[in-house]
Symmetry: C2
Subunit: 454 residues, 2 copies
Amino acid sequence: MSATVEETIQYASQESPDSPRRTVRVGICGLGTVGSGTVNVMSRNAAEITARCGRPVEIVQVGARRDNPACDTSQMQVSREIFDVATNPEVDILVELIGGTTVARELILTAIENGKHIVTANKALIAEHGNELFEAAASKGVTIAYEGAVAGGIPIIKSLREGLVGNRIQWLAGIINGTGNYILTEMREKGRTFEEALAQAQALGYAEADPTFDVEGIDAAHKLVIMASLAFRMPLAFDKVYTEGISGISIEDIRYADELGYRIKHLGIARGTEQGVELRVHPTLIPQRRLIASVNGVMNAVMVSGDAVGPTLYYGAGAGAEATASAVIADIVDVARTLEATPDQRVPLAGVAAGGQGQNCVLPMDEVVTSYYLRISAHDKPGVMSQVAKICSDQGISIEALIQHEPAEGEALVPVVILTSRAKEARLREAVSQIEALDTVEGEVVRIRVEPLG
Amino acid sequence: MSATVEETIQYASQESPDSPRRTVRVGICGLGTVGSGTVNVMSRNAAEITARCGRPVEIVQVGARRDNPACDTSQMQVSREIFDVATNPEVDILVELIGGTTVARELILTAIENGKHIVTANKALIAEHGNELFEAAASKGVTIAYEGAVAGGIPIIKSLREGLVGNRIQWLAGIINGTGNYILTEMREKGRTFEEALAQAQALGYAEADPTFDVEGIDAAHKLVIMASLAFRMPLAFDKVYTEGISGISIEDIRYADELGYRIKHLGIARGTEQGVELRVHPTLIPQRRLIASVNGVMNAVMVSGDAVGPTLYYGAGAGAEATASAVIADIVDVARTLEATPDQRVPLAGVAAGGQGQNCVLPMDEVVTSYYLRISAHDKPGVMSQVAKICSDQGISIEALIQHEPAEGEALVPVVILTSRAKEARLREAVSQIEALDTVEGEVVRIRVEPLG
C-alpha cells in the first residue's frame, strides 16, 4: 500500500532540514532475558543509536506481566496488559519479545491491525506463522523485522536479504544452536559422554531442564527455514524440514571423525537443487580445515555460498540478552529510519517484493544426495568386508575411506568405519538395512551424513 | 535536502499497486576485472535481482576506453568517454569501477553535480577523498555506496553501518589484504621464505609486479580507515594510520609463534580508547584458538567486537571479479530501492546522520598499549637474560613467556624469544633500544605486536 498524498506531503515537510524528524516511539512487550537486555542496551547507547538512526528512538511503553530487576523501567510507562501496547496510538513500533506462538501471534496481528511496525526475535513464531503474519503486514503496509530470530547478534538476515542480494544462493549451512554446539565441543575436547555434557550445559544454564527443543534440532529447524526462505525466495516451510538430533552421537564417533580429518557438528543445511530445496538439520561430518569446523562452545556460525561471492561465513554469539538485543535494536533502527517511507522503499519482508517469491518445492529427504559415515559392529571373521562392499556396490555406492582397527583384547566385535561416496538417501538406507541383516554384523549401523562445504 | 512536494507526489503515485515502479538505470564506468564481473553477474542474475529489489534494474550505459572480452556489452550503449555517463540524464546510478584517485574523483564529483547516486568499489578514493565526496553528495541529496571497497564480497560495511548499529564498537581487526595473507600462509604451511612466497603470489596473479601496495600495508590501511570511520563515527583519517608491512617476517618467527600457540597475521586494527582511536596495520601474533587465526590463503576476514554483541566475525573472498561484483550489486539494489526516498530515509553515507560524527582523535602510536613478541640474538654467555629482564623491568614491562633453545652446533649466537606484558609503545621502544645496545646482543631485535582478540 502506498502512503496517501496527504501523508506523503506531511512526511516531506517533516524532513526539511529546519525541522528535525520526530522521535520514533517504541513499545516493548516482554521483559525476559532479551526484553531486559534490549531496554538496557537502548538506554546505555541512546546517543549512538540516535546519531546512527538520524532521529531519536525512545521506549515509550513496556508491556510485561511483572518487572525484571535486570533492567530499569522506572522512566517508562509500564503496562501489565501487553495488548495495551498493541493498541496504544502513541506507539510506532511494537517489539515482541514474549516468546511462544499463541499469544505472540495474536499480539502481533493486533498491532498490525493498529498500523504498527513489528520487530520480533521469535523464531518459532516466524518459522511457523510467518507466512500469515507477513501477509497481514503487507496488507496494512507495515513491516515485520526479525533479525534477532536467527543466530542472535549475527546480522545474518540482513546479509542474506541485502548484503548478498546480487547472488543466486547455492547453499547455506549453520551451527545455529549454541546448546548443541556446546555439548559436541565438550564431548570432543573433554571426552565427556552426551549425557555428561548435557548435564554440564544444564548446570551452566545453556540447556533447559527439558532439552528436547535444542538437542533434537527443533530450534535449529526454526532458524533454518527462516534463512532458507530468504536464500531461496520460498514460503516458510517448517513442516517440511528433516530433523535429526545429536543425542545418538558417541565419543567413539567423534574420535573416528577426528582420525578421518573431520569434526562432527549439528548443522542446519539448505541447498538449492534443480529438483527442489533441501531442508535438513542433522549431525554432520565436516572437514577439519573448514573455518566452521573450528566454531566451538556456544558460538554460532552460518556459511552462505553464492554464485558470485563464493563461500562466506558469519560468526558470533547466537543467544544471550545483549547479543540478541543487538539484533533487535538494528531492526528498530532500520524501521525507524524508514518509518515514513513507502512500503516498497523498505527491504521486503520475505526478501522479495510481492509476486517475486518462487515456487521452489522442498526436496523429499529420499532424494537428497550426500556422502555418509557408517560405523558397523562386525564379528572379527573373514569375509565381512567383502559382503559390505558388495552391498554398497550393488546400490551404486563406493567406499572412499575405511578404518578397521584390531579388536580390543577379549572383544569379539570389531568396529568398521566407512566413508561412502555420494549417494541418494534412499539407496544408502537400503544398503544399511542389508548390512544390518548380515549374520556377521551386530546391532544397528551408526549413520552420520558428511558434507564437504567446499 | 528533502524532495519537493511535487516530486514526492509523483513518487507516491508511481508506487501505487497499479503502476509498477519504473526501471532503475545504471551506468557503469570501467570494464576491468570488477566492471566486467558486475556486467556478467547482473545479466546472469537479472530475474533474482529484480525480484529482490522490487523493480527492474538495467545497465543502460557503459563507459570504458575499450571493450573487455570477459563480458558482453553488445546490448548496452557503450561510450569511450566515461564522463558521458556522469552527465547522461538517462542514468540514475553511476557505478565507478575505473580505480585510481584522480579521474575517479572528478568523475564522481561530476556525476554528483548531475544528481546521480554513486556506487564505487574504490577503497583508495574513499579512504583519501571520502570526506570531500560525502560532503558533495550530501549537499546534492544523493548517496555514495561503497560496500565493494572493503573485503570484496563480505558485507562488512553493511554489518558495521546497519547490522551492529545498536552497539558501541570496541575494536575491529581484519585480514583485509588477500595477497599478504596468501604469502604468510605459504610461508607457514610450506616453509617458504617471504621472497619465495611473494614470487609464487606473483606467478598466480595474486600480487602485482610492484607488490608494495599489498605487502607494505597501504591497501589494508585504506580499508581499515573506511571501517574505522563507520565503527567509531569519525572522519576518514588515512594520513593518520600507522602502517608496517610483512616483508620483514621470517620463517623463524612463524615457527616460534607456533611454538608459543600463536599465528602471525597481517592485521588492520582499530580500537576505541578513552584517549582516541588506535589505527594501525602491522604483522600481529594472535592466539591459534581464535577463529581468525585459521583464515588462510587469499581469504579475508574481519572481527568486530561490540559492547552488546561481543565478538563477531565476517569471512569471505576479499577480491576477485564476481566477489566484488556481489558487493557492488548489493549497493546498486539498496540505492535502487530507495531511489525516490528522502535522504534521511537512506542509511547515512558515513554511518551517522549529519552532525552525528564524533570528534574522536587518532591515538598517537607512542601511546598505543600492546604486548610484544621479541626475538633477540644473544651471545651464549651467562648474564644475558638477567640484563634483558632488568631493562624490561625498569620500563615496567614483565616477561610473560620465554623460549631459549640451545645454540646450534658451532653457533655462538642463540635466539632468545620473549612475550612481554602489555606496555606503551614508547616504553617498549626504549627497552628494545637498550637491549640492542648490550654487548651480549647482536644486531636488531625483531619486534612483532601481540593481540589477544578476546
